[in-house]
């Protein structure tokens, strides 16, 4: 089956063989699978193998060392062949571990399914019971059960199964709870199916992967624990032997014949290790979110891999001058050109707005400047960012750290997620100050209070002790702005700082930013998707589309007479007070994906004015008037209708 499917063209494979291939791609999981498969095979084949009787005692040949006199692994205290006992013992251990897993999975999943599906009082009652069982230290409960039932392999099996039920019940309940509230379950209920039918036909298949993951992660444990009980003499009783009881027997003669205990222990280890390797692999395949590789940690600074250093032509009066910036994301062999050559400059006390839809590359442009684009997968592949005379992309990591929050500071979008939830506002402000100024803690605190006062937060000294979640959204964003002002920045990069706020608060925050930049002569690079916001604060605007600027110019001019059809469409999206009849047209279509950009104009597909030559080749950003430029060969002329 697997081979037949494998020959089918890509994209038409069914899920199962794909999962298997994924599993086999993981070399450790494959090693686990092979070792585990071998062990199972040998255990199954035990009656067929040319092994001596595992229980045949031979007092004359007792405690023979391994590799001697016809006994590959030697003999134990009664002269029994250890290899033979090992194979037969593995059989027992495997059978016990598997049975315990199945029992625990069956009852645990049943409890979890019912609790999650039923909810309410049934759920509470069942889960309280489960919590009660989990209040016991795991092995201790198993011991108590064995104490009651009496020592014996079967009793040990029951004990281990019982103490593992809660793990299944808890995991399965969580998923079952979510699945049971989904629409298809409601639909099944409305179609008159019985609860049992819904539970096993609709809910169970969706919960199955979790059951399998939980099984694959607990089976190793169960084998280990049953072996442990046998080791203590509470599991397998002579003459029956599993790996644990062999180890327990060997312990009594550890000093004289260590091989008798080392060999079975090694076998348990190999068995459990192979299962755990396999289990990890299974978990990665079935639950990609948990995959260790999927969680990549971004490093402190975006990787810079420029092919050649561009010659930077200085612009008069610019504090920040970005030339030909190109930033890419490399994900799974695909290259996403998020920023494809951007030039921008910001002067003292000036506010430049970058406007565009989500995914246009405006945030990546802003985050590239101080190297805050996560690497992996991001990398800066071209251009320069000049802060004064210094190329930020060529600066050392330490130099960038010194400039971050000092010369160039940031304000981000959602102040709830951008402030650290576990530190007080004061702590975070003081840290921002102390990172760049040699102030004592109390001086820094005083300064932090001043900063809060500056952003019009009442009772600043008290607010210092507040945690972010204790403040309103507007207050939190004021804190973020205060933090950006802590070290007299020359440039503030504000990435959608008002998007997460409601309209009144938005206006307040904008007014605050506007006043502060005029008072302190700070340049602002303002990222937004909202032309309404642009008109409130920006001196100049750059409209971004598919990683490139499509139009630049002063705010007033662009708002009154946009040249690029995209700009015009964006402006039309803004509701105007007092014009309720005005149509708010959404822009039809979607922006192109930046790993497959067209040769010509990227907006052509959605453009009402598109003509054949638009798609022919790259279109440069053309300056058609001093200070105004558009990337369009059929630009709008003021007054002319474009639709």
């Amino acid at each position: 089956m697997a081979e037949v499917v494998a020959t089918q063209p890509a994209g038409r494979r069914s899920g199962r063989p794909d999962s298997l291939r994924l599993l086999l791609n993981n070399s450790l999981a494959t090693a686990g699978l092979i070792v585990f498969g071998l062990i199972v095979l040998v255990a199954l084949a035990a009656p067929l193998l040319p092994l001596p009787d595992p229980d045949m005692t031979e007092p004359a040949n007792r405690l023979i060392r391994p590799f001697e006199a016809g006994h590959l692994l030697g003999t134990d205290a009664l002269g029994r062949d250890i290899l033979s006992r090992l194979v037969w013992g593995t059989r027992v251990s495997l059978a016990v571990g598997l049975s315990a897993t199945l029992i625990a999975a069956f009852f645990g999943s049943l409890i979890g399914l019912v609790a999650g599906y039923a909810g309410g009082r049934v759920d509470t009652l069942l889960m309280r019971g489960i919590d009660m069982v989990m209040a016991f230290p795991y092995i201790l409960l198993a011991l108590a059960i064995v104490a009651v039932l009496g020592p014996g392999l079967l009793n040990a099996l029951y004990a281990i199964a019982v103490v593992n039920i809660p793990f299944f019940a808890r995991n399965i309940r969580g998923i079952s709870l979510g699945v049971s509230r989904r629409e298809f379950v409601d639909a099944a209920r409305l179609s008159g199916k019985s609860h049992t039918q819904i539970l096993f036909v609709e809910v169970l298949p969706n919960v199955l992967p979790v059951i399998i993951i939980t099984m694959s992660t607990t089976i190793g444990w169960m084998i280990l624990e049953t072996a442990g009980l046998s080791f203590l003499g509470l599991g397998a009783q002579p003459p029956q032997a599993d790996l644990g009881s062999m180890l327990g027997d060997g312990r009594k003669i550890l000093f004289t014949a260590p091989h008798v205990s080392i060999v079975p222990g090694l076998m348990i280890f190999a068995l459990v290790m192979s299962i755990n390797l396999l289990g990890d692999g299974v978990r990665d395949v079935l639950d990609p979110r948990l995959k260790s590789g999927a969680l990549t940690r971004p490093v402190a600074r975006t990787a810079v891999m420029r092919e050649k250093q561009p010659a930077a032509a200085a612009i008069e009066g610019a504090v920040l001058d970005v030339r030909g910036l190109r930033t890419e994301f490399h994900i799974g062999g695909e290259v996403y050109k998020a920023v494809g050559g951007v030039d921008l400059h910001v002067g003292r006390g000036e506010c430049l707005g970058i406007v565009g839809e989500s995914g246009s590359g405006k945030s990546v442009t802003a985050m590239s400047i101080m190297g805050l684009v996560p690497t992996p997968p991001g990398r800066i592949v071209g251009g320069a960012a000049m802060l004064g005379d210094e190329d930020l992309f060529a600066a050392s990591d330490e130099r960038i750290r010194q400039l971050r929050g000092a010369a160039v500071s940031h304000v981000f979008q959602d102040p709830l997620s951008t402030l650290h939830p576990l530190f007080t506002v004061g702590d975070q402000l003081v840290e921002a100050i102390q990172a760049h100024q040699p102030l004592s803690k109390s001086d820094a605190s005083a300064k932090a209070a001043d900063l809060l006062k500056m952003v019009r937060i009442p009772n600043p000294a008290e607010r210092l002790n507040a945690y972010p979640h204790e403040l309103s959204g507007g207050m939190r964003q004021r804190v973020c702005i205060a933090m950006a002002l802590a070290n007299d920045a020359q440039i503030i990069i504000a990435d959608e700082p008002t998007t997460a706020l409601d309209v009144t608060v938005q206006a307040q925050v904008l007014a605050l930013l506007d006043t502060l930049r005029r008072e302190r002569d700070t340049g602002i690079l303002f990222i937004t998707h909202d032309f309404g916001v642009v008109s409130a604060i920006c001196d100049r605007v750059a409209v971004m589309y598919a990683g490139k600027f499509v139009e630049t110019g002063s705010t007033d001019e662009i708002l009154s007479s946009p040249a690029h059809p995209y700009t015009a469409k964006l402006i039309d999206c803004v509701p105007v007070l007092g014009q309720p009849e005005r149509r708010l047209d959404a822009i039809a279509g979607r922006p192109p994906v930046v790993n497959r950009l067209p040769v010509g104009c990227a907006f052509a597909e959605r453009c009402p004015r598109v003509e054949a030559d638009c798609r022919a080749g790259p279109i440069p950003l053309m300056e058609f008037r001093p200070g105004r430029a558009a990337r369009c060969i059929h630009p709008l002329i003021a007054g002319e209708p474009y639709v």
């Binding site: 209040a135 016991f136 201790l140 260790s292 101080m370 750290r401 951008t418 650290h420 939830p421 921002a432």
Partner: protein
């Protein structure tokens, strides 16, 4: 905060109450006649009946439980017939030895596990990360009782650096250095599995946290990378890891059963194993109850610690 701790302590009472019910029910489910089990199969019917009356086993189950619970609250856990002394005395004496062993292991596994997890996350995909991940997997898979035997063979028998068994030297011991000398191998063995679990979880938690927006904020502030990792990221990761350390307390307390048997540590684990094989059920009952209660308190401490770290939980 004091109010919170008081609230948590109050919430622990029904849990401990529930523990007594489970322990009582398990013991009440003993197949056959407990008196016969205690007296052996050669006991006369008169003796069995007398013992049943003495133990209160002729009364209804609920009444038996109430009597048993009332006795518990007076510190009367019954009398161990193998030790011939009150169960509580024996259990508390043994439990203090277990607490030394398990406590040391818990501290050890927390420190090593957290450090290994952080290093692994910070150097993700490096050879350091890969070796830590592999060693951790070995630690989780190795049978601790077997590892204990190996360590005895290497460090006690061959190298003779540490004693193979016991808590104190038989002659001339009894002081702290002697205790530490005896403690080293068993505490290490007991810590291995829990270290692996904590290291794994810390790595995942750190990787998760390092992707958060507030870490980007910290970097944008110009905070040094060390501070970003050890102050900003670690504190958040700790909130996730602490409950797991609480759960590991249970695994360490339970795992002590094996380690105490291997190293002949005079703790409650080896006591329980002996009591089970001699069917000294009152001793089992008392031992299980005391360890389970300690575990509940451990988890309570973990809860409180988590709340101290995370103001949103208050």
């Amino acid at each position: 905060m004091t109010a919170y701790i008081a609230k948590r302590l109050l919430a622990a009472i029904p849990v401990i109450f529930g523990l007594t019910i489970i322990v009582f029910l398990i013991m009440a489910m003993i197949p056959g006649d407990p008196a016969t089990a205690i007296l052996g199969s050669y006991a006369t019917p008169e003796n069995v009946e007398k013992l049943n009356r003495d133990l209160g086993l002729d009364k209804p189950l609920l009444q038996q439980y109430v009597i048993w619970l009332t006795n518990l609250t007076h510190g009367d856990f019954g009398r161990s017939y193998t030790m011939n002394r009150p169960v509580l005395d024996e259990v508390l004496e043994r439990f203090s030895a277990t607490l030394i062993l398990a406590g040391t292991s818990l501290v050890l596994c927390s420190i090593v596990g957290l450090l290994a997890g952080i290093v692994s996350a910070v150097r993700q995909f490096s050879w350091v990360d890969k070796s830590i991940t592999f060693v951790v997997l070995i630690g989780i898979s190795v049978p601790s009782f077997w590892l204990g035997l190996l360590l005895i063979l290497v460090f006690a028998v061959n190298l003779q650096w540490f004693p193979a068994s016991g808590m104190y030297a038989i002659y001339g011991g009894g002081d702290l250095p002697d205790l530490l000398h005896h403690l080293f191998l068993p505490a290490l063995t007991l810590a291995v599995v829990a270290t692996g679990v904590i290291a794994r979880l810390t790595r995942t938690a750190m990787l998760e946290v390092l992707r958060q927006d507030y870490i980007r904020t910290a970097r944008a502030k110009g905070v040094t990378e060390n501070r970003v990792i050890y102050r900003h990221a670690f504190k958040s990761a700790l909130v996730t890891v602490i409950p797991v350390i609480g759960i590991q307390a249970g695994f360490v307390l339970g795992g002590a059963v094996y380690i105490e048997t291997v190293f002949q540590w005079p703790g409650i684990g080896s006591m329980l194993v002996k009591a089970i094989s001699t069917r000294d059920l009152l001793l089992v009952q008392g031992g299980v109850l005391v360890v389970a209660t300690a575990y509940v308190l451990f988890n309570l401490a973990a809860d409180v610690a988590q709340t101290l770290l995370d103001p949103r939980l208050r």
